[in-house]
Symmetry: C2
Subunit: 558 residues, 2 copies
């Protein structure tokens, strides 16, 4: 008889902030039945993933075992939790469960990818329960920076697991249900919590978190005090913030205009699902043009400096008929995610050049985080008193710190990162396997592996430039015409002002003229030798070795 | 008779933090004699300048008028003030003046570039005076994060200008002269200050700055309290910080080992010039290996996450025989410059994986800035009471804010950015010309213009990949062999799994077979047509349009 075990395996989100993707399994070793929690994306950057459109978790391991997968549960509709659904759901093809707002957005994603939205099922809050193989799963409302975020209570024969999702302790979050200690006290009282998988994002924030409602008055005062056009940006999905901003506009006799596709979609889904009520009337950008600037407020996308979003567009000039000018106010009701500073500051400086007054979060006056801070995390540890705590939703430094404070608080805790399969059946998490995992890149319309070399080659061309050499040989291995060189991303002239292409072609031709027939016959050796010539000459002329592509064409007598 | 005028023209540093380069002129319009203050660099990044080694100001305007240039003055030895000297001095070829520590580092730079160090003259502090054409220039000691930083008093027949350089108000900066109000009171009393060109870096920091000496005790306590190996990083040029760190090591019975070329050079120049005394004995990395970990402290380069510096190397594993492990402490006695967050956090996470305890500046406990904060700036405005204030050393947002607070304080102020020539002769700065300026890239060993298209092409290859097509035609415009395609930085397979190269070659060959002779005869049109085929097919297959290089070889009958 092989014993049943309860396992936990993050395929994304543990060791990074992004592309959350967590597998739970129950059953005999190697025969567990699975559920998947969240299927998110992360965003590319020029440093490490130039040209890539989206980064997704590599779920090949799960795909190969999809006959054992019962269902997917989505905790909330942030892209790092739901963004890969449209791309990866077909590989798994099991029912998806989520609360109404999340499910509605998820259905739109499936439809956009040409799949039926029927795979997604709307689930009410606990006590409503989804049975999925050996798992019984409930959605517990928590407050976060998007409506209807949920923690999951996952019951198994081996015990109760609480998967926190993303949350903060906000009793009055402006939109949606507030955080309620009683819900969690009850969960722990009903059945002891074996394991708590817990959001670690803000573990380094030492003060208690603040409520969304604390920024209503400051934002209202800021906007009331301003004369020109007022523009504010925040995450489109932060529906509560949109409401706060729109209400501040109303209080200042300003009509609201939403700019950016994502923002309009969020507001309409939030209204449609009943999450958002009393949202002030908005006008379209076309109509906004006719509203006096002092009576208008734009709420726009692009708080992270995204090149194509409304904020960046407005910082470059006219956008949808609107143009900022001296005396206008631009409010970043947001915090810059590490790595986006350069783009955001570029925008701020553009606005500065226009004479626009820019206001950032002002030390938290105009923005609050959606994640639980350290004291809040410790509070939740005490509420649930789990046998073990496994930090998730964090870079390694967050996970380590979270495990440290849990351990200090007397709770067994360990760092589990992507690809580590742990057995939760005993008193402490026990590593039982390392699973191959990683990242997939959506590049244009195709998925490629992060380690396929495609992006590595792009980075190399960006760093070193690219030289292409064409040589034509006849069937006697004589060169036909001269070697031809094309350069991209390389200086035109080298040392002493000589034209680099000319120097390279000259050296290649002398080399070819002096080359032994044996070398000219051997494709690989010839390629290698020509490459070496190019790199050496370039090193002398311009002090760097480019990437080189050699094309040797052999023309046979006809 | 043409009236003499006093002009100011920033060629770098005004509208950015980096590559400081400021021209002053005095004389009849178009015949002014010039001095140059500072000749710095700025650092490239993957987003906007991949593969570039260094960014320098484009000084072509000044180079074309170098017969009118009297001298170069360097305020201090930070790279953004002196870094371009070795590269650009030969284009100007005039005497360079600096204080001893700065001059010593400058001489090393000239020597490294094969120039005689004799061009650099060491100048003592005010009242010592350098005469340069119509200018009389004095170096006034100020405190900053490098030894012997100086403000310049620039006397001209049209009045006295104070060029602040980089400074903070630190009466006890651990190394070198402290800030002294009396020096500046005296300067203003001696002769009214017509214009103050003033550092704007920290204008958004609302509290008064803190002294370097305030972090001595916290750093000593931190290090004393730790058991394993201790490693600290800061800017190599922050000699005071190096001393603070080394003294903390001594107090904790730890031997100091310096790692990183820049750090060793700074300490040795500081000692050689008498700036740094009482620096504890250090050991080399080779000898450090034999020191017990609890009795050793490494002080290393790379606080900004630079890939090749010691910090990054240690985060990747063994470096010069040293390897960090669980229980060691790594202190960032530094602040991350915006834009470097991603690289620094990568390192922090690597250390976290090793079990190393990482400490950052801890809200200023272990690091203080080298620049004057807003109240400090306002204090200096009041000390000097200039007729006009021109903010420098800042991005546009800094300059704008600095001009705003000066104006609020009753001082005439205006924003002057790179390339704007202003006449200071009257009561307010008056724009008299816009000069073409910009950035040069040091790329390998050659200088290229930022707008030459080289870097643009690299970025495009990084974003879009690169497809190369080779076609051979005979003198009847018949194709010889098939079209050949090479891809770099592009997915191997497209839609439905077909091999992209094969699909492209197939489509190109059918196109060529059906092409009209007229098209095949016309190089430009053929190139254009083939390019279009590649981009269309790629768009269908992989959803993106690559960069394309077409090589059509025409073989003539011999």
């Amino acid at each position: 008889m092989s014993a049943n075990r309860l396992i936990y395996l993050p395929l994304g989100g543990a060791g990074e902030i992004g592309m959350n993707c967590y597998v739970y399994g129950y059953g005999p070793a190697g025969k567990e039945r699975f559920i998947l929690v969240d299927l998110g994306v992360t965003f590319p950057d020029m440093d490490s993933s130039p040209g890539v459109d989206l980064i997704l978790p590599d779920i090949s391991w799960l795909e190969a075992r999809r006959d054992r997968l019962e269902a997917i549960f989505i905790t909330h509709a942030h892209e790092d939790h739901i963004g890969a659904l449209g791309h990866l759901w077909p590989k798994l093809n099991v029912p998806v469960y989520a609360r109404r707002f999340t499910a509605t957005l998820g259905k739109l994603k499936l439809e956009e990818h040409g799949h039926s939205p029927a795979a997604i099922h709307i689930v009410g809050a606990r006590p409503e329960t989804v049975e999925a193989g050996p798992f019984r799963v409930q959605f517990v409302p928590v407050s976060h920076s998007i409506p209807e975020s949920a923690a999951l209570v996952i019951d198994t024969p081996a015990g109760r697991v609480v998967h926190s999702g993303d949350f903060k302790l906000d009793p009055s979050p402006v939109v949606g249900e507030g955080w309620d200690d009683a819900r969690f006290t009850e969960i722990a009282a009903e059945r002891p919590v074996k394991a708590l998988m817990c959001d670690s994002t803000n573990v380094f924030s030492l003060h208690a978190g603040r409520s969304e409602s604390t920024i209503r008055e400051p934002i209202r005062d800021l906007i009331k005090g301003h004369g020109g056009l007022v523009v504010a940006t925040t995450f489109a999905s932060n529906v509560a913030r949109l409401k706060t901003l729109a209400e501040a506009a109303r209080a200042a006799d300003r009509t609201v205009c939403l700019m950016g596709r994502a923002m309009k979609r969020m507001v309409s889904v939030a209204q449609e699902t009943g999450v958002l009520t009393d949202f002030p009337r908005t006008v379209s950008p076309e109509d906004a043009v006719d509203v006096p600037r002092g009576n208008l407020m734009l709420i726009v996308t692009g708080s992270q400096g995204e090149r194509r979003a409304a904020t960046a567009q407005l910082s470059r000039g006219k956008y949808l008929g609107m143009e900022l000018k001296k005396g206008d106010l631009f409010l970043f009701s947001s915090k810059t995610i590490p790595g986006n500073e350069r783009e955001v500051l570029k925008i701020v400086n553009n606005f500065s050049e226009m004479g626009v007054d820019v206001m950032d979060d002002n030390g938290g006056k105009y923005h609050v985080s959606g994640h639980a801070n350290r004291p809040d995390l410790e509070h939740v540890h005490r509420l649930l008193l789990p046998d073990m705590l496994i930090p998730m939703h964090g870079e390694h430094r967050h996970l380590r710190e979270h495990a440290r404070i849990a351990t200090e608080g007397g709770i067994v805790s360990d760092i589990v990162t992507n690809g580590m399969m742990v057995d939760l059946t005993g008193d402490a998490p026990k590593v039982v396997d390392y699973v191959e995992t990683g990242r997939m890149y959506l590049d244009g319309s195709v998925l490629i592996g992060a380690l396929d070399g495609v992006v590595r080659d792009r980075i190399r061309m960006a760093l070193n430039g690219h030289a292409m050499v064409t040589v034509i040989l006849d069937d006697d291995n004589e060169t036909l015409g001269d070697a031809w060189v094309e350069l991209r991303g390389l200086p035109e002239r080298g040392r002493g002002g000589s034209v680099l292409v000319d120097v390279l072609e000259g050296e290649l031709n002398s080399f070819l003229n002096g080359a032994a027939p044996k070398l000219l016959r051997d494709d690989d050796k010839l390629d290698e030798a020509l490459r070496r010539v190019v790199r050496q000459v370039a090193m002398e002329e311009i002090g760097k070795k480019p990437e080189v592509t050699i094309v040797v064409s052999r023309l046979m007598a006809e």
